[in-house]
């Protein structure tokens, strides 16, 4: 089974018709074509690729695992499918589509297949714009995020990525530190003795 067949089978299994330009775009992407390491339940394959690549830009693999290693794309797919009410699903999907349209307009191809520099530039533009509009750069809220309809796509995506990443085993234990059973609380310890931030 070649890649084209694999994609089509996945698409059929999910009930999506991936044909024509979209499929060609995925197959022929100018750069190394990104691949999904999970089967999306909510996103279309194109949307899922964007989410995965965008999550990886927000939290990339460095000397420690990145968003894709940590399973963040599947996490976001699950949240969209199971947790988000329909209105939030629609709003998020529209944000995603608009974001991708801008990538196509600016760079001539979908975000997922843009070069790393192009991806970072586009994220930077959206991210700076969104934060400058949030009230004084202060907290933009966490748990209520996405429920009021007022959140720019890029920040909602950043929230979901950080949540998925730092509640993952890789994020919690390899980037931060985690101990389920810390033992009696010690209230005032030199940071140097503790090391990195606690995941929770």
């Amino acid at each position: 089974m070649n890649r084209r067949e694999a994609l089509q089978r996945t698409a059929l299994a999910l009930g999506y018709a991936v044909t024509g330009p979209a499929l060609i775009g995925m197959l022929n992407g100018c750069k190394a074509a990104p691949e999904l390491n999970y089967t999306p339940q909510f996103f279309t394959p194109e949307q899922a690729l964007l989410i995965a690549e965008l999550a990886e830009v927000l939290v990339p693999k460095t000397d420690t695992p990145g968003a894709k290693d940590a399973g963040v794309p599947a996490f976001i797919d699950g949240i969209l499918k199971e947790v988000y009410p329909q209105a939030d699903k629609d709003r998020f999907t529209k944000g995603l589509t608009d974001f991708d349209e801008e990538a196509k307009k600016t760079y001539g191809e979908p975000f997922a297949t843009c070069s790393t520099d192009e991806k970072i530039a586009l994220v930077k533009k959206h991210h700076e714009d969104a934060l400058s509009k949030s009230s004084g750069g202060g907290s933009v809220g966490w748990w209520r995020a996405g429920s009021d309809g007022g959140k720019p796509f890029i920040l909602e995506m950043k929230e979901l990525t950080l949540l998925g990443f730092f509640t993952s085993q890789a994020g919690a234990t390899q980037v931060l530190q985690y101990n389920q059973v810390p033992g009696p609380y010690k209230g005032c310890v030199p940071l140097a003795e503790v090391g990195k931030a606690w995941a929770t």
Partner: protein, 569 residues
């Protein structure tokens, strides 16, 4: 006829306890340890310590969706989810609101857990004594009715309960927040220590580590319970039994006596009143599984079904002698519903201490005892007062959303703990008002066909004036202590959200104006005791569970001694 007598004999015990939460567990333990064959009726399923805590050792990545409920799951919890606290790790401890309806005449959040252990599995564990400032307050202020007891009546029972459950805390010598039998206190962190010192220096006010029902040292009398490991996953059930719950402590103790029969899925909907004998003789149970009606009989009945649960049972116990419900000859049953108001206060940034951190997730915070309307600190705009709970901590990775960086830079910066923040939220007393009440709604039935409750209660002027001060004083203290960028908040809350609902079957000296006497006996049916939150004559501002437990142990002791004297037949 013979068959009926045989059935009645089989279903007869020395005592019946209705409910297994924080007070029901205590009633079960005390009555069984004193030798009474006791039937303990729980409306929900059984929950065995450790065995039935499905999420107790799950790591964050083992919980779906970052611990958030799915949209489908959330549909079961339209009321419970108002706490913003129902999640994947604890969802099995909250009632299904669709199956357990009530009517909010005014908005009221009725937060419940229907299973063995009840809310003792999910409680906040904050454990404070009331004092004579509280017991005398109604009489002094001319509000409501006087408590029929004083601190000296309850003090030995506070000692008794604290010694058994294990309470960690710091003795402070504060007259209106009496010290207890404390295990070693948990530690304050570096910033909280500074706040404590500044509060003392600038305001002459105390700050102490929260007094909590967590073991910070082993309990010699109960080696099955272990010391707190600072997991702060308490609401899932603790594998160490480090915090007090009925499941980890009182129910196993009752079971060990061999005198307890615990019957789950047993919904008690009324007390049986025998018109010939002129007394309560048992309870009627609807078996939640079989829908069968069963009667159980006993000499002594303890109602510990939670404040509104026990009041429902009494209101629903209609007989020709008690057409308005058992205990309602006064007409006061169901009235004077109270709660604690909170979710208002302030938070601030803390400069410095970047080189300091902590180890462990302390399931506790700081406590600032009440200072208003004590001594010379008199308010003209409201009576009574409030305490503060809160704490300082360093910001987590969640701060990253609002940071200007992303990618490798953000990832690197989040490896370090964020800046320190500090916050306090007030817990304010609520006065007893006749108009704040619950009544039976015969028109709206639950899934078992039982009538439901109408809840009609609201905060009034005294609470509103106090609330304003709760917010402003929080900011004043944080600012006075030198913290920066102080922000107040007031997340307007419905009554009920304090999850300290109480009153509705209050204790009093006069049976014309109260439901219970000073031993928690129903005036009209002295072999029926109500020792949960329903009995409270005023609310004070302290977390109330310890007081329910102490009142229960005291009432059980009295009940057994009265039985032995032949005064309860």
């Amino acid at each position: 006829m013979n068959l009926n007598i045989e059935a009645q004999k089989q279903n007869t015990y020395d005592a019946i306890v209705v409910g297994t939460g924080i007070s029901g567990g205590w009633a079960a333990k005390e009555l069984t340890e004193k030798g009474l064959k006791t039937l303990v009726l729980e409306r929900g399923r059984d929950v065995k310590h450790q065995v039935d805590y499905p999420t107790m050792t799950k790591d964050p990545w083992q919980l779906p969706h970052g611990n958030k409920l799915t949209e489908e799951e959330l549909k079961f919890y339209p009321v419970q989810s108002r706490t913003y606290w129902v999640n994947q790790a604890n969802k099995h401890w909250w009632v299904n609101d669709l199956e357990n309806p009530y009517t909010e005449v005014k908005p009221f959040d009725w937060i419940r857990g229907y299973h063995a252990g009840g809310r003792s599995l999910m409680w906040g564990k904050q454990t404070y004594r009331l004092s004579d400032l509280d017991f005398e307050s109604n009489a002094k202020d001319g509000v409501g009715i006087d408590w029929p007891i004083r601190y000296k009546d309850l003090a030995p029972w506070y000692d008794y309960v604290e010694s058994y459950i294990g309470v960690s805390g710091q003795a402070e010598g504060i007259p209106h927040l009496p010290d207890g039998k404390f295990l070693p206190p948990m530690e304050l962190n570096c910033v909280e220590e500074v706040f404590r010192d500044k509060l003392s220096e600038k305001f002459g006010r105390k700050l102490t580590i929260g007094r909590v029902a967590h073991l910070t040292a082993p309990l010699p009398h109960d080696p099955s319970r272990g010391v707190c490991q600072s997991r702060n996953m308490c609401d899932r059930g603790c594998p160490y039994g480090a915090y007090f719950s009925s499941n980890a402590s009182t129910l196993p103790a009752a079971m060990k006596t061999g005198n307890m029969t615990l019957r789950p899925h047993s919904i008690v909907h009324s007390v049986i009143y025998d018109e010939q004998k002129r007394k309560a003789i048992g309870v009627r149970v609807l078996d939640a599984n079989t829908k069968e009606e069963i009667e159980f009989f006993a000499k002594v009945i303890f109602l510990n079904a939670s404040a509104l649960g026990s009041t429902f049972v009494l209101l629903n116990s209609i007989s020709s002698s008690h057409p308005q419900g058992l205990g309602n000859n006064s007409g006061h049953l169901g009235h004077y519903l109270m709660d604690h108001q909170y979710r208002t206060g302030a938070e601030a940034d803390v400069e410095g201490f970047e080189d300091k951190y902590y180890i462990g997730r302390r399931p506790n915070g700081i406590y600032i005892p009440r200072f208003r309307n004590i001594g010379n600190d008199k308010r003209t705009d409201y009576i009574r007062g409030f305490g503060y709970q809160g704490g300082a901590s360093r910001e987590s990775w969640a701060r990253g959303v609002a940071e200007m960086s992303f990618g490798a830079d953000l990832k690197k910066s989040l490896e370090n703990p964020g800046p320190w923040k500090i916050g306090i939220t007030g817990f304010g007393e609520c006065l007893p008002y006749y108009e704040n009440k619950v009544t039976i709604n015969a028109d709206k039935k639950d899934i078992y066909g039982l009538p439901t409750l109408n809840i009609d209660a609201e905060w009034k002027e005294n609470e509103k004036a106090m609330r304003k001060d709760m917010k402003e004083s929080a900011a004043e203290m944080l600012e006075g202590a030198g913290f920066k960028n102080v922000r107040t908040y007031d997340v307007a809350d419905n009554m009920g959200l304090g999850i300290h609902e109480m009153g509705t079957a209050r204790m009093g000296k006069d049976q014309k104006t109260s439901v219970l006497n000073k031993w928690n006996q129903v005036h009209d049916a002295p072999n029926v005791f109500v020792t949960d939150g329903a009995c409270m004559t005023s609310s004070a501002c302290q977390n109330p569970s310890l007081t329910y437990m102490a009142l229960t142990a005291r009432a059980a002791d009295y009940a057994v001694s009265e039985l032995k004297k032949g005064n309860l037949k």
